[in-house]
């Protein structure tokens, strides 16, 4: 009996073994190639952008990044107005979105009961589901005029001595772009922060409460310090989103390649100028200069994303080390 079982199995399996290994080999190679195509995609993206921006890199070199002169008619291209516009609009967005996102995350992780927390979290996530062009449309026709009539006058009245808030009040400009960006990145920052606060071990909270801390003191001394690295990661992730956001910004920032101190004035970002001018770019050098702006965006996007993910991972691994789950 003991001999017959292996014999039977052997006989029945002998032919398929070859087929089986052959099938496995085909399947493994196929999925390997598909996985490889992801590496190839990232590599191809970088190579295509470097290759196609090469005429501009060769023509302007590092001067491209310090020149504020963007003049397609005379074939002079400098990226400074767009780098400035990108960073200023993103920092307005962060200044508004970070406090709100932290509030949302604390409300969802510390205040709201589970059933409510998930429903509210879902609504906040819906903010991320609305397409960029719809935000742009709303910002152009509703938010921009409202900001011109109800936000910019008080700012100019109280803070008009700052160069930031001087000049004519218009619906499209840096401030409108920063505010719509803030609305768009809040769901990203708050959802990562909520996740980070939720992994803070209960023992940490209980320890703070047992020492007599009020709820806010517990949050301040136990929850936020524990998740700090993750919060910074979330903010950087939000910054990455804000830098690359295109259509909504292109619709409300006013598109002017001028650097001006006033936040009321029109400006332009790296992404918005590509969106506006790429399809109409006539000369090869013009296209190459726009692609070089895209290359800057690609590098910024990659660096910020890698740093942010690493920071969020640090918090999760710390919890894993300390609690084993």
């Amino acid at each position: 009996m003991a001999d017959s079982i292996p014999a039977v199995r052997h006989e029945r399996a002998r032919a398929p073994v070859q087929v089986r290994l052959f099938g496995d080999r085909i399947f493994n190679t196929a999925t390997f190639i598909l996985a490889l195509s992801i590496l190839a995609l990232l590599f191809g993206l970088a190579v295509a952008l470097i290759a196609d921006s090469f005429p501009a890199i060769r023509a302007f070199g590092l001067h491209f990044f310090i020149s504020a002169d963007w003049d397609p008619v005379n074939e002079q291209y400098g990226a400074l107005p767009f780098i400035y516009g990108t960073f200023v609009s993103s920092f307005i967005a962060l200044a508004l979105a970070v406090p709100l996102s932290l509030g949302v995350a604390l409300c969802l992780s510390e205040m709201a009961p589970d059933w409510l927390s998930h429903r509210l979290g879902f609504l906040v996530d819906l903010l991320a589901a609305i397409p960029s062009v719809v935000y742009g449309l709303w910002a152009v026709f509703v938010m921009g005029p409202w900001i011109r009539d109800h936000v910019e006058p008080p700012l100019a009245h109280w803070f008009g001595w700052l160069p930031l808030f001087q000049g004519p009040k218009v619906a499209v400009g840096m401030l409108s772009a920063g505010i719509i960006l803030a609305i768009m990145i809040i769901p990203y920052i708050s959802s990562v922060c909520t996740d980070v606060f939720r992994v803070v071990p209960h023992t940490q909270r209980e320890a703070a409460l047992a020492l007599g801390a009020t709820k806010w003191e517990m949050v301040k001394t136990a929850v936020i310090p524990y998740g700090m690295t993750g919060v910074i990661g979330a903010i950087i992730l939000g910054l990455g989103r804000a830098l690359g956001e295109t259509i909504a910004v292109a619709m409300v920032i006013g598109n002017s390649a001028q650097i001006s101190a006033s936040l009321f004035k029109p400006a332009a970002t790296l992404a918005s100028v590509i969106a506006n001018e790429f399809a109409e770019a006539t000369s090869d050098l013009y296209v190459a200069a726009l692609i070089e702006l895209g290359l800057v965006l690609l590098i910024l996007g990659i660096v910020l994303n890698v740093v942010a993910r690493a920071l969020v991972l640090v918090v999760q691994q710390r919890r894993y080390r300390e609690t084993g789950k």
Partner: protein, 291 residues
């Protein structure tokens, strides 16, 4: 730690601390409400302005010539379906296959690199992906085309689908896989008809969320699919899409075009929210797109 907690001075101090705690917590609730206001405002304006502008012609008519009132977005609706559909044909097999590979080969260095690339790709601004599609499709083929738009959207879908597929496959209990292998089923058939099949609902969820995400993309289509006022379903000609049409109408100076932009935005948002809400409803709220 010590500063906040050891400061126990007695009754008044405690009352102050309690008050401070309650106010801070009230502020977090306020922040949540403030955050949700724009959501309701956007949806509210979409409904009021969009519904008022929506009519049957919107779905059945072509865009009207410049300056002329009326017309619709029939070609843009079909165009969005075509561009996204072809993007799925390209992106889903690659994403699912790569996800299966990542889940099956956890330990290798190559897997780590692929996973890292997928995460990095998720952080690449979509307009940069558009430039990539321009460089590899539009330039060599000598013109804007449906194919270029689909390639751009596929490149955005692939990392999303890959990461959800991997996560969903890892949720499949190893015993199922082992049971199938123990019965003598070859590896590849185990992966496809036991593991992938068990994870199928999760993978489908991931694909639908990725479709919802790319359906709302405008930036990568501006100089790939480009837009077209006329009827076209050809793979190698420019094609109209809802997002690009809404964008061009929104920044146009004509009141009737702006009206149609609201209608287009309503239809677009309706489709995307239906996909997202549908998936959440079916999965009981568990589904979440990777970021």
């Amino acid at each position: 730690m010590a500063a906040g907690v050891s400061n126990l001075h007695g009754e008044t101090s405690y009352r102050y601390r309690k008050f401070k705690s309650d106010s801070m917590m009230a502020i977090t609730v306020g922040a949540t409400i403030l955050t949700l206001i724009p959501l309701f405002l956007v949806l509210g304006y979409l409904l009021t302005k969009g519904v008022a502008s929506l009519n049957w012609a919107f779905f059945t008519h072509m865009p009207a010539p410049v300056g002329e009132a009326g017309g619709g977005m029939a070609n843009a609706i079909v165009g969005t379906l075509e561009v996204v559909g072809i993007a799925c044909l390209i992106g889903v097999p690659i994403g699912v296959g790569a996800g299966l590979y990542l889940a099956a080969n956890r330990a290798s260095q190559f897997t780590n690199w692929v996973r890292f690339s997928a995460d990095v790709l998720m952080g690449v601004p979509s307009i940069v992906v558009g430039i990539f599609a321009y460089a590899v499709i539009v330039r060599p083929f000598g013109g804007f085309s449906t194919l270029a738009g689909s390639v751009a959207l596929a490149a955005i879908m692939i990392p999303l689908v890959t990461r959800t597929t991997e996560e969903m496959v890892l949720l499949v209990p190893p015993e199922l896989r082992e049971a199938s292998l123990a019965l003598g089923v070859p590896h590849w058939r185990t992966t496809l008809s036991v593991v992938a099949r068990t994870a199928l609902s999760g993978i489908t969820t991931g694909v639908i969320l990725a479709v919802a995400r790319v359906s709302g993309e405008t930036a990568p289509l501006l100089f790939t699919a480009f837009g077209n006022r006329f009827w076209s379903t050809s793979l190698f000609h420019p094609i109209n899409t809802l997002t690009v049409q809404v964008y061009t109408y929104a920044i146009s100076p004509f009141a009737d075009w702006q009206r149609q932009a609201w209608a287009g935005a309503l239809v677009l948002t309706g489709i995307i929210l239906a996909l997202e809400l549908g998936v959440r409803w079916v999965t009981g709220g568990a589904a979440k797109a990777p970021r």
